[in-house]
């Protein structure tokens, strides 16, 4: 088992906040409360962008890239496809993008391109 990695305190707080928002947004989407779901996804996306910046600063580029992908996905779920596409593309330019994630993102970019 690995030791817990140290993140900046602010990043830690934001990670908890957006995790709750994503959990709730997913439930709300499933029960057809789409407006409430989109509002939460949008807020989560904005927080994910802040986390990305904080983890970049903390020299945790690979982790930051995952948060950037999550930000893009949350924008997609919130209906902001332009922003989602831009962030997926930004994530793909990062060397720190985990190999196993790259293929998933390529598919998501193609899907967004056809919307």
């Amino acid at each position: 088992m690995e030791e817990t990695k140290n993140y900046p305190e602010e990043a830690q707080r934001l990670i908890a906040r957006k995790s709750g928002l994503i959990l709730d947004a997913r439930v709300l989407q499933d029960i057809g409360k789409f407006d409430e779901s989109r509002t939460r996804f949008l807020k989560a996306a904005e927080i994910e962008e802040q986390i990305t910046a904080l983890l970049d600063e903390a020299n945790e580029q690979e982790d930051a890239t995952l948060n950037l992908v999550s930000a893009a996905s949350c924008y997609k779920m919130a209906g902001n496809y332009t922003k989602a596409l831009a962030l997926f593309q930004e994530a793909m330019t990062r060397d720190a993008m985990p190999k196993e994630m790259r293929k998933k993102i390529e598919i998501l970019i193609r899907q967004l391109g056809t919307l």
């Binding site: 690995e2 817990t4 990695k5 707080r13 990670i15 997913r26 994910e48 982790d63 995952l66 998933k104």
Partner: protein, 191 residues
């Protein structure tokens, strides 16, 4: 040897995972557990492969989940909105939240949206978690195998965990996994 059965109030999830507000997943779990008891439900968790990793975790852990009348009232107000498979899928996350905080201490939990699905990470992205629920007791093992396969596909250099639970018989499996090909419990990339 008898094991003490601890009781955990499901509403306390947001204290054990500070700032993770997850009112809706709690409602889903309580809606299903109310079929077993008015305000409490006992879960039996099989802890698989932990001993192989040299970890002092019992093979079986039992715990009782309790909930408040206020939660019951909220669940009754919202229950009709849910399809049963949504209750099970989201309810499993609430039970996993209890297990990772109170039995295994794998915090902090992070939830990410990746495409249309959710990814769960532990200990600040050091380890991954797959979660799933079912209401068919005979499906628990198969679901565990599927989630394990799914986990191992994305597990390249970290440990990972699979938590699957069945709300019909209140049993769960919580297993620990290393990346494929890593026989020393630690991948070369980490050393």
């Amino acid at each position: 040897m008898t094991q003490d059965i601890h009781s955990y109030a499901i509403e306390d999830i947001s204290q054990w995972h500070p700032n993770v507000e997850c009112e809706h997943v709690i409602s889903c779990a309580v809606a299903l557990m109310m079929e077993h008891g008015e305000n409490a439900c006992c879960f039996t968790v099989e802890c698989r492969d932990w001993k192989n990793e040299g970890l002092d975790i019992p093979d079986v852990v039992k715990f009782k989940v309790i909930w408040s009348q206020e939660t019951v009232e909220r669940v009754r107000r919202t229950l009709t909105m849910f399809h049963r498979h949504h209750l099970i899928e989201h309810g499993a996350i609430a039970i996993a939240c209890i297990a990772i905080a109170k039995i295994f201490d794998l915090r902090p939990l992070e939830v990410m949206q990746i495409g249309n699905g959710a990814d769960y990470w532990l200990k600040n992205k050091q380890e991954m978690l797959e979660v799933s629920g079912t209401e068919r007791a005979d499906e628990l093992e198969r679901r565990h195998r599927e989630k394990t396969e799914q986990l191992l596909e994305s597990l390249t250099r970290r440990y990972g965990y699979v938590f699957v639970c069945c709300f019909t018989n209140c049993r769960a499996i919580f297993s620990i996994h290393r990346p494929r090909g890593d026989r020393n419990g630690r991948n070369k990339e980490l050393s």
